[in-house]
Symmetry: D2
Subunit: 256 residues, 4 copies
Amino acid sequence: MTTKRPMRVLVWGENHHEKHDELTRQIYPDTMHGTIAAGLRDLLGADAVVETAALDDPEQGLGEEQLAETDVLLWWGHLRHDAVDDDAVERVQRHVLGGMGFIPLHSAHFSKVFIRLMGTTCSLRWRQGVDRELVWTVSPTHPIAQGVPHPLIIPAQEMYGEYFDVPAPDELVFVSSFSGGEVFRSGLTFSRGHGRIFYFSPGDQDYPVYHQPEIKRVLANAVAWAFQDRPRTQPRITMHREGEFDTPREWDGTLQ
Amino acid sequence: MTTKRPMRVLVWGENHHEKHDELTRQIYPDTMHGTIAAGLRDLLGADAVVETAALDDPEQGLGEEQLAETDVLLWWGHLRHDAVDDDAVERVQRHVLGGMGFIPLHSAHFSKVFIRLMGTTCSLRWRQGVDRELVWTVSPTHPIAQGVPHPLIIPAQEMYGEYFDVPAPDELVFVSSFSGGEVFRSGLTFSRGHGRIFYFSPGDQDYPVYHQPEIKRVLANAVAWAFQDRPRTQPRITMHREGEFDTPREWDGTLQ
Amino acid sequence: MTTKRPMRVLVWGENHHEKHDELTRQIYPDTMHGTIAAGLRDLLGADAVVETAALDDPEQGLGEEQLAETDVLLWWGHLRHDAVDDDAVERVQRHVLGGMGFIPLHSAHFSKVFIRLMGTTCSLRWRQGVDRELVWTVSPTHPIAQGVPHPLIIPAQEMYGEYFDVPAPDELVFVSSFSGGEVFRSGLTFSRGHGRIFYFSPGDQDYPVYHQPEIKRVLANAVAWAFQDRPRTQPRITMHREGEFDTPREWDGTLQ
Amino acid sequence: MTTKRPMRVLVWGENHHEKHDELTRQIYPDTMHGTIAAGLRDLLGADAVVETAALDDPEQGLGEEQLAETDVLLWWGHLRHDAVDDDAVERVQRHVLGGMGFIPLHSAHFSKVFIRLMGTTCSLRWRQGVDRELVWTVSPTHPIAQGVPHPLIIPAQEMYGEYFDVPAPDELVFVSSFSGGEVFRSGLTFSRGHGRIFYFSPGDQDYPVYHQPEIKRVLANAVAWAFQDRPRTQPRITMHREGEFDTPREWDGTLQ
């Protein structure tokens, strides 16, 4: 019954395979980010305003103004991580630390901004095969798992396996198995600064994963979880005299 | 180079299948607990004094004096959980909270004492089939994972799958997959009171799992991790006047 | 914009001090649980239907039907923990594991049901003095911390200090300091089975803590966080043949 | 009884205050890093070989060879964070991810390498006053807390307070209070890649904190905890064909 303002969601895509790979074009004629956005609109309805942006947009679709008006950013990238400007990476990291939700998808484990937010290599084990992936819920009380089948079955997927070199997550929501026998922590939450992050590994340019209703459900849940109705404010150092809890003095650039 | 006193390790076994099942007797002619203890002696050498106890021993092998002289208790039980006296369960729980290490194995997920320490049902998904289990390390810096292959391959095992109804562990060390596609959080640490707990799921009366050198390595590592050289002291409520940090007054039985 | 059914909230009180202590009667003329319930109604409005129950109600206010119709249970108890029937304790634990939210307050750290859910002694350090308590947020992205001042200042409170013998929480939301120098992990989340638990330590029969608007905000946030719109279902063991992920066979009472 | 090779420990210091501030020189006539190293030698004896390095050494004391022969690196820096070369920062991060232990102390929360490993701002609340700091143990089973008084009392210290903008730690070992009322998560563990990190906040150039025996005990415990006897190997992406668990194929620089 609570009436909240709609969440402002931005689905960012690298948009490379859609232009260069026939298979991807067949599976995702509306682009991958367009497909993800459509799924969110279906499930979130009036609760969200969902837009898309792409690497080839002005300012790579990641301008300061655009980010300032984004509550939750979903990110799909794969072959063009290096093409993302360091300035854009810095902006995205700053907005995440300031409170923007961030949902890196699949091969975005190797995006510059995710690596920077994690502090690790974000490397993993992989195979471009045709494994069946089963996504099991290990946090049944987590909002992101609500309404998600146990297991969620993905008939064909690229394999991502452990060791996945990320920090221990705040919450481990999903663990996947692959028919080749590998396992992967496939749904992970992290808080960084004032922002909430959910990494979700299923989804690839060669398989119709983002068309599955269960996957749409996970992503819609994740957007609602990552959303915070707060002013964008990055944590910063503050100096407080004794008893002055609420009146921080600005740090003047030097530690004493 | 540090010289510490030897760890006093007790391997407790239900000793039921060993008496009633021909298959178990063939696999474990020296009993399951005896086999586990022998493996620990091999790997820990002079660092540990390893003894065994069984359900049919006096005081069910869990007398007050026995527990007081145990640094780390390993527990294998399956069909006779209900036969363990509630008094013995209370004693074990108290000693764990007082600092004794505790390593419940496989079907001990349903032991009274583990359920009591977890506060949950400790239920899970299972299948008495012949799955291959692969045990993957997801905490490569954890002492329990040192020297353990990635993956650790168990040719044939009973399937244990998620959802495993235990609290989120302090550290998730191992995740297993089964050839049927299920996954299981198979190596989990928990601290409770002053004690350290490691649950490890591989191991069954029908398969020679405890004969595998890699499994012996996990158990030896786990004993060393769970060991603490501390006086057995259960946490208790204490009343402190202002400034009297180190001189607790005994609680006299009434909250004010 | 999402329209959800109202949350059904039950505030349970021991109702002992209200009948026997003049000071408590002066501070809480509408009882402690009545005051807490009124605060929730103010802040949650049409999002919640808030009722109260007390130890001296039929079935101690914790009958099967009552619990089955409760989404989130808040619990205040202190001197009469032992008077709560073990049957009622078992019912509450079962409903929490089945999905009911549970919010034990202050001295409810020693309630039978909290001890049973934690598996530890739940003991702590304390002093019946007049400390100023400052409640600091260490998880600024947590829904329970939204709109809560940093620090939240409680002019006078009983001191609760570390070591607080509970399992490491899933999320540490608040840490308090007391003017005597002690610290306490004062806002902690735990998931157990299908239920979500939030322990919050501020609040005492001798101080007007539950009249503070900031405390009401924490409790309203906690109710919204602990609420899940799910059928009450306790985790249970299930047997699955290979490939039968969705058709559990009932466990027939014997492990094979 | 286990005989392990000695741990190779390097205590790195910025060595700025020691050259420019009379107060620091009086408190730490042997430099801060020299004092810390002496404390470790006292407590670890033959278990460790402890060396020191400083910002004004060749290669800033952080050459490739030096790091390759270091098992655990302690780091004290304050005013000269910016003077550390980005190449040196990259080397240290790489060695940590490859398995080197890392113990940033006090104002090293703002060192480039800690910020890079955390992915956050690492900002905090502070006051250059004369607060009494009480360090409370909230993980009594943690090896770093063994033998440490509860509380550990530091008569005079700079105040560091929450919100400390770091990821949720793997384990929260210590929480401090300050006489001004602030709290701080003062002892935190993190695993990153193959390395183990312990941040410990007490210690400042203006107070004799590193002369306190209890602080020496914490640091010696932390070194033993962060040490791993493993070959230095950074996690990296590997490609595995089905069933080839142990024979990774090198990634050739392109994702497929």
